[in-house]
Point group: C2
Chain length 179, copies 2
């Protein structure tokens, strides 16, 4: 660990070091941001947070570092049903596959684990002859709180509403994570 930073060496950082990838102040800030996030961040949010630690971080470097981590299979890319726009969200690749269930009205995201995921992946490898690299299941629907609202119907839902909303998601009364 460098003497001029107070950041602990993150797991992503040591994974990259193992692979002989050069480490920089900017990358360290970006990796730490992704790892310490309490929810899924998009590139702009990663930039904003990483800048607070290391002011010199640039938009372009965030994209390049995300690309690096994706190529090494260390993070996964999510759409979260594009409820809040066209950006992609990122998370450290977890030990066990899980899916993301997003409320199309309030934007709440739930992570959910199931045995069916591993079974599905195995089926694909066997029956399609593919070597599976990345598997992503996303579900869009309406959470308990939003089902109660009359306007939460398929033909009238407000996809892409709240596009410019605050960084923090609106809660719906439920806990944000299951499993």
């Amino acid at each position: 660990m460098s003497p001029h930073t107070t950041m602990t060496e993150s797991r992503l950082e040591s994974e990259l070091a193992q692979r002989g990838v050069r480490m920089t102040r900017q990358r360290r800030a970006i990796l730490a941001t992704i790892e310490s996030a309490e929810r899924h961040l998009d590139a702009a949010q990663i930039l904003r947070r990483a800048s607070r630690v290391e002011a010199s971080v640039n938009r372009v470097t965030v994209y390049r570092t995300i690309g690096l981590l994706k190529r090494h299979g260390l993070i996964d890319e999510l759409d979260l049903m594009h409820v809040t726009g066209d950006a992609h969200f990122y998370e450290r690749r977890p030990e066990h596959d899980h899916i993301h269930v997003t409320c199309l009205r309030c934007g709440q995201v739930i992570e959910f684990e199931s045995e069916h995921l591993a079974q599905l992946r195995a089926e694909v490898e066997q029956q399609c002859g593919f070597r599976v690299d990345v598997a992503r299941t996303e579900i869009g629907g309406y959470c308990g709180g939003c089902q109660a609202m009359p306007e939460a119907t398929a033909a009238t839902r407000a996809t892409r509403a709240n596009k410019k909303g605050a960084e923090d998601a609106r809660a719906c009364g439920d806990a944000a994570h299951i499993a």
Copy 2:
């Protein structure tokens, strides 16, 4: 059916009529294009093909019609792992859920059905308290043909190569569809 067109009324068209949605020449051309496609098309490809039938179709109308169909749950949106760029692809919503398995090297797409999909959906509805509207599983990996090539490894794969390639995908020796 209008007397001045040789197009048969498509299923999407009658679905929209049932819902009281106004039908136009442009929409008819777009619907027919989506329904007759032998593979998944993105907005630009839909525009190109629809223009051959109805020259007045505009980019914006394609996007608006896609939005209309999505809101009514008549088509599904796919990323196909963004192998060829950032565009989205569309397909008529099928009777049975299926997943899309995309080769990260050659771009081949296989559709695959599995019982695990319905089971997963049921689990989510029960355990998350969500009303599920749309479920999407996408898998990226390497097909049989591309696994044989030495450069098809995770850290060196050419994601986004062939971005400006011809409209028709490169085959890999395998059939394009299973299930």
